[in-house]
Amino acid sequence: MKRKTAIILRYVILVLGAIIMLMPFLWMLSTSLKTQPETVKIPPIWIPKHLMFSNYVNALKEAPFLRYFINSVFVTTVTTAGQLLTSILAAFAFSRLNFYGKNILFVIFLGTMMVPGEMLIIPNFVTLSQLHLVNTYGALIIPWLASFFTVFTLRQTFQSVPDQIYYAAKIDGASDWHYLWHVLVPISKSTITAVTVLQVIGSWNAFMWPLIVTNTENLRTLPVGLQAFTSDAGTNYALLMAASTFVIIPMVILYVFLQKYIIAGISKTGLKG
C-alpha cells in the first residue's frame, strides 16, 4: 500500500513538473498554428480556432531553409565529432596519465570556461580572418572543435572507472590507446551520448557566430533563417514558431532516439567499485 502511494506520488510530481517543462514547447506548437491576431491575444489562447497549417508552408518559403538545413547538419556533425575526439583524448590524459603540470593545466583549461563568450567574438573573428577562414565552413567549425566542458564531463566519468579495469586491460596487452577506445569509451557510452546530445544541440542552435563569420547565404545555418520573421515592425510569431518547430524537431527526434543510451549505460553492473 505504502509502495503504491509512493509510486502515485512520484507520477503526480512528475506530471506537474512535466506541465511546466512542456509549456513553452506546447506554446510554440500552438502559436505555430495560430493566425496573427491570435498570437497576441490577451489573455493568451492555447487552442487556435482554425489550425493554420499553412503557416508552415509560408514560413518555409521565407528563407532558403533546405540549404540552411544541409549546412546545419554538416556543421553540427563535423563540430560534434571533432569536439568529441579532441575531448576524449584530453579527458583521458587528465583522468589517467601522469604528467608534469597536470593540475595547473587543468585549472587553466577550466579558466577558459570562466570568460564570457561575448568577449571572444571579436578577437576570434580577427584570428579567423588572418587565417583566411572567414566565410568558410572552417570558420563555423574550427573554433568549436574543443570544449572544456566536454573534457570536464568526460574526465569525471573516466575517473570513476575502477583502476582494476585499467590494470586488466594493460595485462591483456591493451596500450593506453587501445584501452581508451576499446574499454574506456564503450564503458562511458552513456556519458558520451549525453555530451553528444548537448553538443549537437548547442551547435545546432548557434546563432550569433554563424551570422558573424559568414557573408553568404550559402554558408548559413537554420537559426539564421529564423531572423526572417523579426523586423522593426515587430515579429510574426506564427511563422516564427512554425519555423522554430521545424528547426528543433530534428533535435527532439535525436534525443528521443538517444535517450535510452543515456540511461542504459552499464545498467546494473555500474561502474563504481
Partner: protein, 353 residues
C-alpha cells in the same frame, strides 16, 4: 621466463613498508605457489611482477633482463586478478577474446580459441551474458579463461579458484597444472589453500608480514619448517605447540643438552603422536590423558591433556573414553624444537632449507 627479485621493497603510501627487501628466483618453467596469511603482501608481489606496481626500491629481472622500469604492457604477463576485473561492458565471449583482439589475432581464430577456453572452464553456456549476470564462480572462471587466452610466458594467478566448489577446484587446478606443464609457462599461483599449493606446485613460497619465510618444495615445507611460523602455518590440523618448560625430563635423554637449553618452543605434528611404539622412528614417550575424541568423516581427532597443556593427535583408531590415561610415542619426523626467535634448531632434516 625466470623471475628474480633483488632487494625489492614496496610501500603504498611512502611511509608504511608492505614488503621488505624481497629476494627470490622463480626458475623458468616451474609453478610456484605463494602462501601466506591474509594481508601479508601476496597480491602486492604479483602486481609488482606484472608491472602494474613499481617497487619502491630494488630490481626485478625476467631472465637476465632488468624489467624494473618496464610497464605491464611491455612485460606481457598473463594475470587473473583476485577480484576478477572483468570488463563490465563486454559479453563473456568478448571478455575472453579481448587479449586476443589486442594481439591482433584474426577474428575467426580468436573466437574459436575463446570458445575452447570457455569450454575448458565450463562457461560455454554463458557466452552471451555480461559479467554482471554471472555467479561469482562463473566470473572467476571467465577471468581464468581470459588469462589463459593470452598464452603469456609468465602467468600470474591470484587466488583463481577461491570461489569454486571442491570438485571444480580440483578439476581446474589440474587443468592449470596440465597447461602449465604442456606449455612450460612459468606460473605463479597465489592461494590460501595449502592442499592446493601442495598438489599443484613445484615450489611454495611462504610470505608473512612482507618477508619470505621459506621457499622450498611442499614436502620440505612440511617436514623441515624453517621456523615456528611455517610449522604452525602449514599442516592441518595445526601442529601442537607447547613451551619447552612444559616437559619434565621426557626429552633429556633424546635431545642434545646444548640444544635443549636454547630451545623455547616444542612443535609436535598431530600424526607424530602415535599410540604404539614404531621402533626406530620413536623419539620419546609421554603420558597423556584423553580429553575428547571426535570423528568427522574420515577424520578422527583425539584431544589430550599433557601436563595441563592441550595436544591433538589424529593417529588413534579406537574410540577412547574420556579421562583415560594414554601413553604416546613421539615420532622423530614431526617433532621440532624452536629457539627464542622461532628458528628451528632440532628436528626435521637439518641440511635441507
Amino acid at each position: 621466463m625466470e623471475v628474480t627479485f633483488k632487494d625489492v621493497s614496496l610501500s603504498y603510501d611512502g611511509s608504511r613498508e608492505i614488503l621488505h627487501r624481497l629476494n627470490f628466483t622463480i626458475p623458468e618453467g616451474t609453478l610456484v605457489s605463494i602462501l601466506g596469511p591474509s594481508g601479508c603482501g601476496k597480491s602486492t608481489t604479483l602486481m609488482m611482477i606484472s608491472g602494474l606496481l613499481a617497487p619502491t626500491s630494488g630490481h626485478i629481472f625476467f631472465g637476465d633482463e632488468d624489467v624494473t622500469k618496464q610497464d605491464a604492457l611491455q612485460r606481457k604477463v598473463g594475470m587473473v586478478f583476485q577480484n576478477y576485473a572483468l570488463y563490465p561492458h563486454l559479453k563473456v565471449l568478448d571478455n575472453i577474446m579481448f587479449p586476443l583482439k589486442m594481439a591482433k589475432v584474426p577474428k575467426a581464430e580468436r573466437r574459436e580459441k575463446a570458445i575452447k577456453l570457455a569450454k575448458l572452464v565450463h562457461v560455454d553456456d554463458q557466452l552471451d551474458k555480461k559479467p554482471g549476470s554471472l555467479s561469482g564462480g562463473q566470473q572467476q572462471r571467465v577471468a581464468i579463461a581470459r588469462a589463459l587466452a593470452k598464452e603469456p610466458s609468465l602467468l600470474l594467478l591470484d587466488e583463481p579458484l577461491s570461489n569454486l566448489d571442491a570438485r571444480l577446484r580440483i578439476e581446474m587446478r589440474q587443468e592449470i597444472r596440465r597447461i602449465q606443464q604442456e606449455t612450460g609457462v612459468t606460473t605463479i599461483f597465489v592461494t590460501h589453500d595449502q592442499d592446493e599449493a601442495l598438489h599443484i606446485s613445484d615450489h611454495i613460497m611462504v610470505l608473512n608480514s612482507g618477508k619470505i619465510q621459506q621457499f622450498s618444495s611442499a614436502e620440505t615445507l612440511y617436514d623441515n619448517p624453517s621456523n615456528l611460523f611455517i610449522a604452525q602455518f602449514i599442516g592441518e590440523p595445526v601442529i601442537n605447540t607447547i613451551d619447552i618448560e612444559d616437559f619434565d625430563d621426557e626429552l633429556t635423554d633424546h635431545v642434545d643438552a646444548e640444544i635443549l637449553k636454547r630451545a623455547k618452543k616444542v612443535g609436535i605434528r598431530p600424526e607424530a603422536l602415535q599410540d604404539h611404539d614404531t621402533g626406530a622412528d620413536t623419539l620419546a614417550t609421554i603420558t597423556t590423558k584423553v580429553k575428547t575424541f571426535e570423528k568427522f568423516g574420515r577424520e578422527k581427532n583425539a584431544l589430550l591433556d599433557f601436563h595441563g597443556k592441550r595436544l591433538l593427535t589424529t593417529e588413534i583408531e579406537a574410540e577412547l573414553a574420556e579421562g583415560q590415561e594414554l601413553p604416546l610415542y613421539l615420532q622423530k619426523s614431526g617433532f621440532y624444537l624452536f629457539d627464542q626467535e622461532g628458528t628451528r634448531i632440532f628436528g626435521g632434516d637439518q641440511d635441507v632449507e
